[in-house]
């Protein structure tokens, strides 16, 4: 895989991440929202996130369904509306790091929740 294509350079960062973020915030409480990782959009483009997600699914094939991943991401994150939910997820991500709920995906040290978001994103977009 050509990592350079996926790693966002300083200048390319906004250009790539804006449409990606926009696509994340159109619906409320649906899987597409849950798959909208706040930070993942900084890590790479759509294709790159899909690849990260697939890497997660290879390690945890039993989670490979939209329902399972959505519910795991939501668990303890709470959910009310899109705005709150993204805040809740951000808090959950922070909690993951605090509790060592982390995972190395293609070299990235991510919170388990972020990794699941990437996996959900990959199910929705590949």
């Amino acid at each position: 895989m050509n990592r350079r294509r996926f790693l966002i350079s300083t200048t390319g960062l906004l250009a790539v991440s804006q449409p990606l973020l926009a696509s994340f915030s159109t619906t409320t409480l649906d899987p597409a929202t849950l798959a909208g990782p706040e930070l993942l959009s900084f890590l790479g483009d759509r294709e790159y996130i899909v690849a990260l997600g697939q890497c997660y699914l290879q390690q945890f094939p039993h989670e490979a369904s939209i329902t399972t991943l959505s519910s795991k991401i939501r668990q303890q994150a709470g959910s009310s509306n899109t705005h709150n939910e993204s805040k809740q997820i951000a808090r959950k991500v922070a909690r993951d790091f605090a509790n060592d709920e982390t995972i190395l995906l293609n070299g990235w040290m991510l919170s388990r929740t972020e990794a699941r978001q990437a996996a959900l994103f990959s199910l929705l977009h590949s």
């Binding site: 350079r4 350079s9 300083t10 960062l13 900084f42 190395l104 070299g107 990235w108 919170s111």
Partner: protein, 524 residues
């Protein structure tokens, strides 16, 4: 006083109190310390005052272990020594580096950081640094833009470095040495043999040669070998007339435990939002101090890790990561090893960097606008008996067997780098700074191999290690060779372990400590 050894009549005998072999950072630091002293100091330097190809050629050697930099380009053979190339990065070793760590085989110096502190303070001045202050909070107080990243100090800390201009000892101290009436500097005086008495417990003299074929002798009360780690071992091993295994080598330790700092890109960091990074970014030639990230002592203990630091520089790693050896190829340095007349001034690291990587010389913004950073490590390697300098079969123009370098690393070395990066990556997420991606060579835990861009920092250490017991070290805590009354070693070859700090500040400090010891000896 300066004497060109080529102009001496053949077979001259020179007598004095102290004979220092090698005028690099260590040798010059000691010689300066003896200025205006009653003792007569003889300073023997193999080269002249400039870089010359035929002198560099005396440094050529064989590489048999892990790929290494060509030995004739990894150090300099003229007055001032390798400070003609050095980049000036300075930091003291950490207190933990001196201690015995159960998880690091052969660790534990016979001296402490506290004992070295007064000498570090003096070494600071010789390399033109600021105050002997390495506490990050000191630097934070100097400039409000200098602040630490918000890591939990229980886990990740900032270790400070200071930057020498860099002091080129050859230029800076030539006049002081030449004008010191009690210091007799001989240039083109290549020591080819250190001669012991019959029972090999005392040195009777040293022989030095000129490339033109003259040979001379020195007799002194004390001898200090200060030729750099590879050359110190080589000279001891080659001085084998009365001690067949070489001087100080009764326990087969001379040349062993050669250490380098592993200096390579390890990861990329993407920051979540802009952080003030003035503390961490380097404007070569301007920055007085900078911080690198290290794991706390507690973390090193808990995870049984070697010491290592990680530096930040703007930009990603790119398709093909390069270590220091690839960034500054030998051709660039060797280009400058022609005859003196044709010699342009030596490039310093900043110039090479400028041509190569303009991004690192741009002024660092107080608040980082860049969000992707390259993380590079400078990591301690564990002392490894198999990593060694020995004598090759080929001889140099003076008839001295060339050095053979077999650089070896151990499993704990790669494990430590990987684990440290993993912990740093987790802590970076935990503290909300951003996310870290480990480079491919660190991802697979079962992969024990090193990538082809394995690099060191041209930091040669440990070939005459310091230990109280002759079976575990070549020199004692006074840097005296075990079993030989009047032969001392100065330089990073005495390091027992390497820490993650560049070696020159520490080697000057240990040399000054040795110098003080000799002053006491001469008094008594």
């Amino acid at each position: 006083m300066h004497i060109d050894a080529r102009e001496l009549s053949d077979n001259s005998l020179i007598e004095g109190d102290i004979c220092i072999i090698g005028a690099g950072a260590a040798g010059i630091a000691i010689a300066l310390d003896w200025q205006q002293h009653a003792a007569k100091v003889i300073l023997l330097e193999g080269g002249g005052f400039n870089l010359e190809a035929r002198m560099q050629d005396l440094y050529r050697g064989e590489i048999t272990g892990k790929p290494y930099y060509p030995l004739e380009a990894a150090r300099l053979h003229y007055f001032g020594g390798t400070t003609g190339h050095w980049a000036g990065f300075c930091a003291p070793l950490d207190p933990l580096d001196f201690q015995k760590r159960s998880w690091v085989p052969h660790s534990g110096w016979p001296i402490t950081r506290k004992q070295l502190d007064p000498y570090y303070e003096r070494a600071q001045q010789l390399v033109e640094l600021g105050p002997y202050q390495y506490d990050p909070s000191y630097w934070e107080q100097q400039d409000p833009d200098i602040t630490r990243l918000p890591y939990s100090p229980h886990n990740v800390q900032t270790k400070m470095w200071q930057f020498s201009p860099p002091t080129r000892f050859g230029n800076k101290y030539r006049d002081a040495i030449v004008n010191a009436s009690n210091v007799h500097l001989y240039t083109y005086a290549n020591v080819s043999e250190i001669r012991s008495n019959e029972s090999v417990n005392s040195i009777e003299g040293v022989s030095f040669r000129t490339i033109e074929g003259k040979q001379h002798q020195v007799k002194a009360r004390y001898y200090i070998l200060a030729c750099g780690s590879i050359q110190n071992a080589r000279l001891l091993l080659a001085s084998n007339k009365r001690a067949p295994a070489g001087l100080g080598n009764d326990h087969d330790l001379v040349g062993r435990y050669f250490m380098e700092h592993v200096e390579m890109p390890v990861a990329e960091l993407v920051m979540q939002r802009p952080w003030p990074l003035k503390m961490y970014l380097l404007n070569y030639g301007q920055t007085r101090s900078r911080g690198e990230l290290i794991l706390s002592r507690t973390m090193q203990r808990e995870h049984q890790l070697l010491n290592g630091s990680v530096s930040l520089s703007p930009g990603g790693v790119g398709e093909s990561p390069r270590g220091t050896f690839q960034e500054f190829p030998a051709e660039v340095i060797l280009r400058y090893s022609d005859e003196p007349a044709a010699n342009p001034p030596l490039p310093d690291k900043s110039e090479i960097k400028q041509a190569d990587k303009p991004v690192t010389t741009k002024p660092a913004p107080a608040l980082s606008t860049v969000q992707t950073f390259r993380l590079s490590c400078r990591h301690e390697q564990s002392p490894n008996r198999e990593s060694r300098v020995s004598l090759g079969t080929d001889k140099d123009a003076l008839g001295v067997p060339r050095a053979r370098l077999n650089w070896q690393l151990s499993e704990i070395d790669k494990y430590s780098i990987r684990k440290s990066c993993e912990i740093l990556a987790r802590e970076t997420g935990r503290s909300g700074i951003g996310r870290i991606k480990l480079l491919d060579w660190l991802i697979d835990t079962s992969d024990k191999e090193w990538p082809e861009f394995l690099s060191g920092g041209w930091h040669h250490m440990g070939t005459t290690r310091m230990h109280d017991h002759p079976k575990q070290g070549v020199v004692d805590s006074d840097s005296k060779i075990h079993g030989i009354a009047n032969l001392f070693v100065a330089g990073a070859s005495v390091f027992t372990t390497a820490g993650c700090a560049n070696p020159t500040l520490t080697l000057i400090a240990t040399s000054l400590r040795l110098s003080e010891h000799l002053k006491q000896q001469l008094k008594s």
